[in-house]
Symmetry: none
Subunit: 516 residues, 2 copies
DNA sequence: GTTTTATGAATGAACG
DNA sequence: CGTTCATTCATAAAAC
């Protein structure tokens, strides 16, 4: 699984082989996922879905080969929503660099590999086109055939040419116009989603403006950029926005609906612009969301550490590009804030509710958090890593952003002996805090872990995905670093303003370390 | 037309084909032969090969033109083997003059045009590269997720496949020998073949020497050149050994040279079946690479928390916005890491080296890991969260995947009092560990945090993005959960096999909790 | 349990 | 060379 998944996957055949041994394993993993939760309970696991172990076979005769397990990826509804949102926002075929990002986002909901993402877009685009084509065709004569064979590129080509634009292009329009919306775009997607998804909720909807939402005002402003599919640059932008937003999509629970007012509140003014389609809900530019959370912050934890730093962190995420956006704002909010929303199409709306929820929760929680007093510890260098939650929505109110953490832990941790243990290795730790509230927090929350480099002990606590007052939390000498680079191996210092506060909010999903 | 040709444009026109023409190429008569059977079912084979004559004719209607369909070339297994062998031997991109020769060899097994050959190499190379990239990079998905990209096809993303690096350069002329064996494997191509084809059969066996044969004397002479890992079957095996699975990349160490005997062995017996692979440690599919890193990990931190369980994990991932560009690069960091490169051609070689490195490392490392003894702790429920790093690369050898952790911490952590604190909120903690090694880990590394539900304390440590032996690490009663759901709030049990090991490798970027 | 459909995966062919 | 398109294969999920 893992990510890459692949492993399995893809390669399918290729190798395969071997392992067979275990048979099945397969994957599944996710499975779990799937259904979610709820149910879950446990059971699940088991099985797998995918799992088939199948055959594997043994050998047979000669050979065997296993069949390999390679379970094929089964996107979960949430993942599909995200993908659709992205697709609808115009990023029909994400550039290579975006893929990993997208994958990361998806990963919150289940294992997925870059390849899966890649394939998804390829297939989605292709099928969208075909569909379109066919429909179109109908009219014309050709019709059928088209599908059938399209000539491909090569030769004939003819057909292709035709293509109107499948969506993509237009996306914009699409969005705009409600009309079709459903159609195309959705179409397939929707289909699937609904279909597969299952239950789903959303199916229905109209799709409205999805993209718009996502994009937000920005988009509105510069439509051109956004729209299109082409990956091109613009797209990226979008993506970023979207991404940021990300949250967008999914989250919402369906059932919920926000009133206009609510929405407005949430968005705050901001986004309101929104153009259209979207109507109400949507909103958010990504940025906004984040902003909301920020304010809060608080401080928190302390850690001790010493030693060196090796952090190894996983990187998480890297962040991306930015797009720019930026945004941010502050938000307001709090309470309100929470919002993230966005979501996809309609679904979005629904979703909102939850978010709100979350927010609330978060808020509550916040107080709880205490600042880390820090165990002063005697440690030398301490590292704190913060990871924003993936899932998240947005930002959360973040209530806090002080690091939320638990002192206890910290202290305890610090206290622990540990010792120099493993020399080279550094033990970095990150803690995730959850709130009972469940998770609400998650969203904006980030886990922060402080590790004593010497002992290797770390303290973890939650931190909001907001700006963090590094100085206040960790002292004058503290340095906040973020895992970046390709694999997250690189550590980049995070800029802070004069007051010692980060210039920007911590990014969800990214890992941060505080060097004390 | 023929196949090729046509248009040709691109590629050099040169080739163009000739033969092709006939539509049906088919050629096949033999085809039949081929493989067929074996494989299975065949799907593939069967059919087609190109078979289909179909169309072409068609015409039909009146219309037009027939498009002629030019059926796309469907390489037969034998052909694929040959091609793979050549590719693996280092002829990544055959000079023009070689093309016809290669084609001729291929022709024994079915119609094929120069263009087809040309395209095949182009695609193969490209895809190989991508895959590599992905692996390297992040994720993977493959896959892909890693992978970034994936495999797949195309571009970007993709990447799926994996591949080994051909060796490169040497292009020789391999052709010479006719032999060819059947064998082989697989490789990617094989994949396909097998894959699609299904089951193929072939694989096995005979495989023998495939490469060898192919290469012929030359090869024999210079094993080193050829050997290589690549993908081919042999490679796989090997790889597996090494990596475990992941095949991927390229594992071979570069510098390494196989003796003829070794080669023979490998190939010959086909891969000997070495089954091995798994071997001990790692398994992981995730990528071998990771494996490397894995080991490292370290432990880490402990935390304390208290309260209930709410875990809130932050997910990781997301991240976005930011900035920019991505690019990456450079960094390099890691030592190991470096890899990425791979790159193409030459680079490849280099890459290999690195890989080798990694591998080695991994192996070595593996042992190191100790199981957590677990602090048994008196704690009640303990949660451990593991997050795979996003960034990651691949997988790492995972060496470990035992959690690497620090016992100290754990114990310490558990020991801590904590208390029931805040009711609702749970303090979840996640630790990120980094290793000094830097990061190497990252890639495959995941941070694992164990929290005592009662006390709220947590311990964090790095874990490879590989399969985790939950039982061994945490005891019989331990339950591994992954944060899933829409916002990551849901916790889903992660399936484990009978031995208590996760069926699949932990996903990078995802958060896991261990409930003790 | 079998058939169909939807769609993930893979790869040949081409374009730029 | 990287990307994109078209196709095809295989299979998970639905529909019957």
């Amino acid at each position: 699984m893992a990510s890459s998944s692949f492993n399995n996957s893809h390669w399918p055949s290729m190798f395969r082989s071997k392992h067979a041994a275990e048979p099945c394993q397969t994957t599944q993993p996710d499975i779990s996922s799937s259904p979610p939760s709820l149910l879950s309970a446990g059971g699940a696991s088991t099985t797998t879905t995918t799992g088939r172990c199948l055959k594997h076979s043994i050998s047979v005769g000669g050979e065997e080969r296993a069949p390999d397990p390679k379970p094929r990826w089964n996107p979960r509804p949430e993942q599909i929503r995200i993908l659709e949102a992205i697709f609808n926002s115009g990023m029909v075929n994400p550039p290579r660099d975006e893929i990993p990002r997208i994958r990361m986002r998806l990963q919150q909901y289940g294992q997925v590999g870059d390849a899966n993402v890649f394939y998804w877009f390829q297939n989605r685009k292709s099928r969208s086109k075909n569909k379109l084509r066919s429909s179109t065709a109908g009219t014309g004569r050709l019709g059928l055939q088209g599908l059938a064979r399209a000539p491909g590129r090569g030769a004939a080509a003819a057909p292709p040419p035709v293509e109107p634009p499948p969506l993509v292009q237009n996306q914009f329009h699409m969005l705009a116009s409600p009309a079709q919306a459903p159609t195309s775009s959705s179409s397939s997607s929707s289909d699937r989603s609904s279909g597969s998804s299952k239950p789903a909720a959303e199916p229905a909807m109209p799709a409205t403006a999805a993209p718009m939402d996502l994009l937000g005002p920005l988009a509105a402003a510069c439509p051109q950029m956004y729209y299109q599919g082409s990956p091109v640059a613009p797209a990226h932008k979008v993506l970023d926005l979207v991404a940021s937003v990300e949250p967008v999509f999914q989250p919402w629970p369906q059932g919920y609906c926000l009133s206009a007012a609510e929405v407005a509140t949430i968005l705050g003014g901001q986004y309101m612009h929104v153009p259209v389609q979207q109507q109400p809900p949507a909103p958010l530019p990504a940025g906004a969301l984040l902003g909301l959370c920020n304010d809060v912050t608080e401080p928190t934890a302390v850690v001790t550490g010493h030693k060196t730093c090796a952090w190894g962190p996983a990187g998480l995420g890297q962040s991306w590009p930015c797009g720019g956006a930026d945004h941010h704002q502050p938000g307001k909010n709090n309470n309100t804030a929470a919002r993230e929303l966005a979501h996809e199409d309609d679904a979005t709306k629904l979703g909102l509710l939850q978010y709100g929820f979350g927010a609330t929760t978060a808020m509550e929680a916040a107080p709880a958090v205490a600042p880390l007093a820090a165990s002063p510890a005697g440690g030398a260098v301490t590292m704190a890593s913060v990871s924003a939650s993936t899932a998240g929505l947005t930002g959360f109110p973040a209530s806090t952003n002080g690091v939320v953490a638990n002192y206890d832990l910290l202290q305890a941790g610090l206290a622990v002996p540990g010792g120099g243990a493993g020399a080279g290795r550094a033990p970095a730790a990150v803690a995730v805090a959850a709130d009972a509230a469940p998770t609400a927090a998650q969203e904006g929350v980030v886990a922060l872990c402080i590790t004593d480099s010497i002992t290797g002990k770390s303290v973890a606590h939650n931190v909001a995905a907001a700006r963090l007052d590094v100085r206040a939390q960790f002292g004058e000498a503290a340095v906040l670093l973020r895992c970046g680079g390709e694999r997250g191996l690189d550590l980049e210092p995070v800029p802070v303003d004069a007051s010692g506060c980060t210039v920007e909010p911590l990014q969800r999903g990214a890992f941060y370390y505080v060097l004390l």
